[in-house]
């Protein structure tokens, strides 16, 4: 038997009351769905009270209950070619995700400085993610060497070419979404029923409090229509766009998510949905949204536990740090949220390799976070094996009475790799002599060396040439509309 430690932040009765509060809000004041007639038609057709002029939709408990019944509780994820099943999301399964909202990249050579990322940065990051043992989703970021209008599709292309893990990625316009859908079909060419073999996740951010903007509604419905798992990801800022109290923000985020649950199932019954939260404390001194504050972590873990209680795979923006460098603060903040996220069973822990309110990507931080993720997984997925063999009573007696060393026992040989997680070269457990001989290097220095070594020694993943050419042609065709005749990747 393996004991997997778990932390439940609210009792069942309190979870039920939280959900009841959200139901009451949706019935009494409703949610604003702005500027999309189709979604209002769908709500009205389902029996919701709709004020078309204001875009307000009021939902009864029956409508919400009905939607909850058809949301899948587990989502199977495949590699980007939709060929191999990699893992499931939901229930007890927790996974760390790369983070792609960055608009800058950390400059290792000039500590604390940042610059705008370009093609080569994305290629390196995607290749590193391919080698990260404990991170399960990639998330490409903003690139500045192509027109802004096509950067969503271009980063999606690069990430496909250099990493086979499923992607967490959004499109920024209807045209971008349709192109992404076309690209996904090319990636999964030859595989049947792509909708049942998802390899990508698309975030959709309602605007707290209780509002959905036209672009987000459109993207969300398109996700459901194209069988792309859709994340409902409100980012309430406690004290600014939601109540300052932790549980008040949990209630509001729950109401926002439930409105997404209903719309999702109206567009596609049984459509994949992920119950997300980017809830954050609002820093009353600087006006920033520190997602690594302990209160932010508490809110996101709580909201995930509400989702899990309702049987929906959950996501929290956990792992992000507010530090400007991949330093001590960066590491302990990420460690706090990964450990708590795993213990609370947040299924998708989104935030690896990112700094400064999710604005700055860092290759070094990615590799450090991979190690932290490994340790959190060891704690929760590995758990404590509680068997006769593990308790080893006979062994202890034998070693003591016969004055033998445990190092020479078959028990040690058979179990040490299972019991101990072996860290990578970033974690220093060497002797003082070895540390000095290596040049007194910090974690950051070791992480920098580690990624350089990976890029120098590990070849990029193989990609089907026909798919590569077709995908490049699709993105280039979009680029031409904005004056770009050749993609930067084609010049490399």
């Amino acid at each position: 038997m393996v004991i997997r430690p778990k932390l439940q932040l609210l009792e069942e009765a309190q979870l039920k009351l939280t959900i009841q509060d959200a139901y009451h809000i949706l019935d009494d004041v409703g949610v604003r769905f702005k500027g999309n007639q189709e979604c209002l038609d769908r709500f009205e057709g389902a029996g919701a009270r709709v004020n078309r002029e204001a875009g307000i939709v009021k939902l009864t408990g029956d409508i919400i209950d009905k939607a909850l019944k058809t949301v899948p509780s587990i989502i199977p994820f495949y590699d980007k070619d939709h060929k191999h099943h990699l893992f499931d999301l939901g229930g007890e399964h927790c996974h760390v995700t790369g983070d792609g909202v960055a608009i800058y990249i950390q400059d290792y050579e000039r500590p604390g400085h940042r610059r705008q990322p370009v093609t080569e940065d994305q290629i390196i990051h995607s290749r590193l993610l391919q080698e990260c043992q404990y991170i399960r989703f990639t998330a490409p970021f903003m690139l500045y060497d192509v027109p802004r209008e096509i950067a969503d599709n271009y980063r999606f292309l690069l990430d496909y070419l250099y990493c086979s893990l499923p992607t967490y990625c959004s499109a920024w316009s209807k045209e971008g979404f349709d192109t992404m859908d076309e690209m996904i079909k090319i990636m999964g060419e030859g595989e049947s029923d792509l909708g049942k073999k998802p390899a990508h996740v698309h975030p959709n951010d309602p605007s707290s409090p209780l509002s959905w903007s036209p672009v987000v509604i459109q993207n969300f419905m398109d996700c459901l229509r194209t069988s792309l798992p859709a994340v409902v990801l409100p980012i309430p800022l406690a004290g600014a766009t939601s109540p300052v109290t932790i549980v008040g923000t949990v209630v509001q985020n729950t109401a926002e998510n439930l409105s997404g649950v209903v719309l999702s199932q109206l567009v596609k019954k049984g459509g994949y949905l992920i119950w997300g939260s980017g809830a954050s404390a609002f820093d009353m001194r600087s006006g920033t949204a520190p997602q690594s504050a302990i209160e932010s972590i508490m809110m996101m873990c709580l909201i995930a536990q509400v989702g899990n209680y309702l049987g929906i795979p959950s996501l929290g923006n956990l792992g992000r740090t507010d530090s400007k460098r991949p330093d001590e603060q960066g590491s302990f903040e990420t460690a706090n949220s990964y450990l708590l996220g795993y213990l609370c069973r947040v299924n998708m822990i989104r935030g690896a390799g990112i700094l400064e309110y999710a604005s700055t990507i860092s290759h070094e931080k990615l590799l450090i976070d991979n190690e932290i993720a490994g340790q959190a997984q060891r704690l929760v997925n590995g758990g404590v094996e509680f068997t006769d063999e593990a308790r080893a009573v006979d062994l202890i007696k034998e070693m003591f009475t016969q004055n033998k060393s445990f190092l020479r026992s078959k028990h040690t040989l058979a179990n040490f790799k299972k019991e101990f997680m072996m860290p990578g070269p970033i974690i220093d457990r060497s002797t003082r002599t070895a540390f000095e001989a290596a040049g007194y290097k910090s974690t950051l220095d070791r992480a920098h060396e580690a990624w350089k070594k990976i890029i120098a020694e590990k070849p990029p993943r193989p990609v089907d040439e026909k798919k590569r050419i077709t995908l490049i042609e699709i993105v280039r065709a979009r680029g031409k509309k904005y004056g770009l005749d050749q993609l930067p990747i084609e010049r490399m």
Binding site: I103, D205, S207, M284
Partner: protein, 213 residues
């Protein structure tokens, strides 16, 4: 007539006290202009406390709200001699771009500007560029502040600067942009005059732009 109590109440964000003291003084025949000066001094004091880390954002925002409430009482009494618009350091139009419903950053900048002595016209969220241009023609502001939180909506800022240029008003108004996915490079690319990295930075940039008018 001294207004130490009024200044103190304003700095402490005590709305009831501010309105009570103001009412008492008006009854006693105090000049509207002097009351306004005291409120402005209190607000400035609150801003100084914030700068020293002794006051926090909710107090600053609430201070701005108290000031607005007080102005509702004072403005109808302003006949001849007192013009709140002329007293302001400048007129700023604030808005979030079309398709974007996020407003916390914009609201913060608006509060900081109000506390800082500017007249702020807040058009809210999801504002079409046509509406903005119309308001610029009507209000003739010194600065337009345009916010966008999403990568999906930030392109609306570029459309705005292009439209402003076409309208013939580009040289008459400064443009500052802000929002999480933005950068100075984006502001340069779209031809904005400034980029506000955060609310305090936004207010400081506006101060700097209007300093040598």
């Amino acid at each position: 007539m001294e207004f130490r109590d009024l200044i103190k109440a304003m700095m402490a964000c005590e709305q009831d006290d501010v309105l009570r003291i103001m009412g008492e003084n008006l009854k006693k025949g105090a000049r509207v202009e002097d009351i306004l000066d005291a409120l402005t001094e209190g607000l400035r004091g609150l801003g100084d406390k914030f700068s020293r880390g002794e006051a926090f954002i909710p107090e600053l925002v609430f201070g701005g709200e108290i000031f607005k409430e007080a102005m509702k009482i004072l403005e109808p009494k302003m006949t001849g001699g007192v013009d709140s618009h002329k007293r302001a350091k400048g007129k700023i139009i604030m808005a979030t771009v079309k398709g974007d419903l996020h407003d916390i950053g914009k609201n913060l900048v608006a509060s900081f500007l109000t506390v800082g002595g500017y007249e702020v016209i807040d058009l809210g969220t999801d504002v079409p560029n046509e509406k903005l241009i119309e308001m610029i023609r009507e209000e003739k502001p010194d600065v337009v502040g345009l916010s966008a939180l999403l990568t999906t909506t930030m392109l609306g800022q570029r459309e705005f600067t292009a439209m402003l240029k076409g309208s013939g008003w580009r040289d008459k108004v400064k443009v500052i942009v802000g929002g999480a996915p933005l950068s100075q490079a984006w502001a340069d690319e779209i031809g904005a005059d400034a980029y506000g990295a955060d609310a305090v930075d936004g207010k400081n940039k506006i101060d700097a732009m209007l300093k040598n008018r």
